[in-house]
């Protein structure tokens, strides 16, 4: 089971699939765009993460009549969306905590 907290590449893959179903190359480009070019996934890394997320039931393949084996789309499952939401909530709490503790208060 993919555990929280998520790694940055996995989080970005899930965020990429949150809006709409995407195929492999589209995910690669979206992850790169979301991270301003900071995170560039290789196909090996991408499909390692996709396989793990598929096995854990966080994402699923989109059954399309015209989709070939070489161009398969993926989307978030309801469980995957719930887990993503949990991770976002966790990060939000952490950011709030960091703001309270680390950012100096105005005099």
């Amino acid at each position: 089971m993919e555990s929280l907290p998520l790694t940055e590449p996995v989080l970005l893959i899930l965020l990429s699939l949150a809006g709409q179903p995407r195929h492999g190359y589209s995910i690669l480009k979206d992850v790169e765009a979301m991270s301003d070019g900071r995170v560039t996934l290789s196909t090996g890394t991408l499909y390692g993460a996709l396989r793990r997320l598929l096995d854990d039931g966080w994402i699923e393949r989109v059954e399309e009549a015209e989709s070939s084996r070489g161009r398969q789309s993926y989307r978030l499952t309801s469980g995957g969306r719930r887990n993503l939401q949990m991770e976002i909530t966790r990060m939000r709490r952490l950011t709030r905590l960091a703001n309270m503790r680390a950012v100096p208060k105005e005099m």
């Binding site: 190359y25 290789s42 196909t43 090996g44 890394t45 499909y47 390692g48 161009r71």
Partner: protein, 175 residues
């Protein structure tokens, strides 16, 4: 580069290759088509990243096949990749020192025993061999040794795991 990519795909377990191989090759082709318009340095970086990604991916896939899970508890690599602020925990340093001290003590002890039995086992006799060398006990002994080494490794990794993230979750709980 495509031929090399296809070759490296053979590092993956066959089930994995059958399921994702064609799809990965298609995505690689698309990515390569875009990168070909760019400079040689960018192309080189892309090629290196892809090949390293395949080797790492194949390793993880085999590990998954062997263990039945990704065993992140045993190989928590993401703890190292995700946290640039990672500091070497004191517990690990202590554990490594204990292991080193144990090894040094064992060597010292072995040397002392060897010195004490010099007269009983003179050099011209040669090393004492077991009367009946059997295969199974040797294998069992080797497995026990490997298990012990694995246990020590796990203990080190467990100590590493209890670093920054552990403390952060503790802070979150006390919020």
């Amino acid at each position: 580069m495509l031929a090399l990519y296809r070759c490296l795909l053979w590092l993956y377990p066959s089930s994995c290759r059958r399921e994702y191989g064609e799809e990965m090759t298609t995505v690689f082709r698309e990515a390569r088509a875009e990168i070909e318009k760019k400079g040689i340095a960018t192309r080189g970086r892309f090629g290196l990243r892809e090949m390293m990604g395949l080797v790492h991916g194949a390793f993880v896939a085999h590990l998954r096949l062997l263990s039945g899970s990704y065993s992140w508890a045993v190989f928590p690599t993401r703890r190292f990749t995700m946290h640039s602020e990672f500091r070497f925990p004191k517990a690990t340093a202590f554990l490594m020192t204990v292991i080193l001290a144990g090894t040094v003590l064992a060597i010292e002890k072995a040397t002392a025993i060897r010195a004490s039995v010099r007269d009983i086992n003179p050099p011209h006799v040669g090393p004492i061999q077991p009367a009946h060398f059997t295969f199974v006990p040797t294998i069992v002994l080797m497995l026990a040794g490997a298990y012990a080494v694995g246990l020590i490794g796990w203990a080190i990794l467990f100590a590493l795991k209890r670093s920054g993230v552990h403390r952060l979750s503790g802070m979150q709980g006390s919020e």
